[in-house]
Symmetry: C2
Subunit: 428 residues, 2 copies
Amino acid sequence: MYVDIGNALDAEPRLTRPALDRLDERVADAHGRIERGRTDAEHGYAALNLPDTADPDAVREAVSRFDDPAAVLTVGIGGSALGAATLAEALGAGLDHHVLDNVDPAAVRALLDTLPLADTVVHVVSRSGTTAETLANFLVVREAMDRAGVDWTERTLVTTGAEGNLRDLADRHDLPALDVPAGVPGRFSALSTVALPVAAIAGADLEALLAGARAEADRLAGSLFESPAYAYGAACYALERRGAGINCVMPYAESLECFAEWFAQLWAESLGKDAVGQTPARALGATDQHSQLQLYRAGPRDKLVTLVRPRERPDVPIPETELDGLAYLGGGSLGDLLDAEFRATEASLAAANCPNVRIEVDRLDERGVGELVYGLEAACVLYGELAGVETFTQPAVEWGKRAARGLLGGGDVDEADAVGEKRRLVID
Amino acid sequence: MYVDIGNALDAEPRLTRPALDRLDERVADAHGRIERGRTDAEHGYAALNLPDTADPDAVREAVSRFDDPAAVLTVGIGGSALGAATLAEALGAGLDHHVLDNVDPAAVRALLDTLPLADTVVHVVSRSGTTAETLANFLVVREAMDRAGVDWTERTLVTTGAEGNLRDLADRHDLPALDVPAGVPGRFSALSTVALPVAAIAGADLEALLAGARAEADRLAGSLFESPAYAYGAACYALERRGAGINCVMPYAESLECFAEWFAQLWAESLGKDAVGQTPARALGATDQHSQLQLYRAGPRDKLVTLVRPRERPDVPIPETELDGLAYLGGGSLGDLLDAEFRATEASLAAANCPNVRIEVDRLDERGVGELVYGLEAACVLYGELAGVETFTQPAVEWGKRAARGLLGGGDVDEADAVGEKRRLVID
């Protein structure tokens, strides 16, 4: 992974090179803390050991019973879905992968009506084994398979913890079950049994993916100027402190659209606490030049834009044309056009004093994706250390979970009572 | 459309009822300005007349030659794509709709390799008729059809202005061509020839869609307390002024995922100028409760959360289960669960003092979608008036367009020279 923070300096908000140099002393301390956490496999820090602790053989063994399925359905939500979606989109060209990560009845029904259930692998993922949305969806999927005459116990793979409803289900029906990795929060679990199964079914080279991650792990160091991941994390932290409360993540690759969503969870849940934390805004280049760029260049000075791309990619020529006005396009390629748009947008942000960072990998293959996933996880962990937040927890979501459970009749819950006290001012 | 701003008051940032009452005097003035613009069909304001000026018969006539195609491909970018994507997703259940709104070679190639080209309708949309990405993509699509032995002139529909490369192409090959509506910027064109064709092919009731829009138009009034659209626009403006620089738009419906993207363009390009403008952040309920909610509740107090949902929707029962821990779900429905999640999340935001607004329609049918699209357009126009920005222009994107053109050999361009002067600080 290559990180270029040149355009993050001396823009608005203003981050100077001397300020970065001073921050680097704190990076050294934070790196020491992270290394101790990794050595002791502490909760959260253990995620940064996955390049070595993940077991590709066990993953391949678990999926080996499913011989070249027509489709794969991941049933999970949040960190139990976004890693799989990211790997499948980036590395699973040709794989018909779907995700049930919402409980919208119309969408669930529409998906089940079109999936070839008899030839679909269902991967149910819930760390706790009790996630309401995931379990409810799985009950609906299971019934659809029953109705279609498909033996769901032959088509289902589970990833979960040692206890919980999902573990009980796996035990009762003798389903193949993978363990969630110890000490790894869901949003840091893309390189584990949570997301690797779909990559394995897609035929991705899991060793190359983990090797890409390991390459970034090997470059974690006591200075942000020696580690691409830390350079990014430190620049984000320093810019947020100076007023860049928004981080617009804009990959120039359609196959990284889910990656931007994965990043948005990583950033929001890890860093959004104690009244700090950058808000991730997802974008896609070149498309969002025609949607968000006006705001980035001319709106409030509260943003960092993160541009992500591969240095090489397959290309498609643009045919010659009979139209004079388009002659400058003909003979070129879509890749040339996308490259020109990327560089033009980056320069246009710089010209407008909008700080931006360029993140590149050589190619969007297994190695490149491994570098990106691990690199941004490590960037996030460093940012959390610098900000002094509890990177690996998400306590603020519990209120709503309790309230929803109460509303559904799951006991007497104070939070559910509060729902009824909503203040209304309706204009209709 | 129902807009409930009760939870937008007295949260953090703090907007009080007296402040809203004072703002309402300015709403009356702004409404007068908007009405004059509509009467004179001024640039931009003309968009708010589309419920009356759009011609569904002409649209149906233009698509009538395409008899029940297997797929529809919209080739456009920004405002020339997002409206079609929004209508197709919300109203086109069963329609195989695709959008080429990027020039990623791998994605373009993958799409063309799987589309049934002989039975696909291609709708090419460019207001100027010169958009580089759109024309380049169309040249590639056209060649793919040629190679597949498909007469592309029989499968192509065009929407463009009176002049430009795309108009020349339509004239030269006698393609069916619809005119872009006069005075309507792309991001305000969802209810016009830009996006209605795909809705017509999907079999949507265009009159009901426009009737929904007209219902919101009829409720524009000189007070925010009498118009749902203005209530929303005024609340957003007032909250931004007080520090809510981010507007997180979170529909609780999978079929509104593209709608959130459409909204993001509407908001960003219209309001992001002169160093003001809320940054839209797209989310999706209930999914992003497991991704973004931690940040919304516990992060910086710089956000408004906009929750959108239908009051009624088709439902799917959750089967009874043998697992004790899930007994509280069985016998309920996915709709019940989603409803509980919606209300729990809304209350959890209020409990955390995060301002939020609830926008509802009766159903996500043509009428409801028409209300939403028009209502949010009118909200945006009001916000622009209150903020004193040029709502209908996007001057900041021109720099990058010129630079890209220069990089591609389209003449000697100062901006292209600036691209070469990039400041680098690469960590690798």
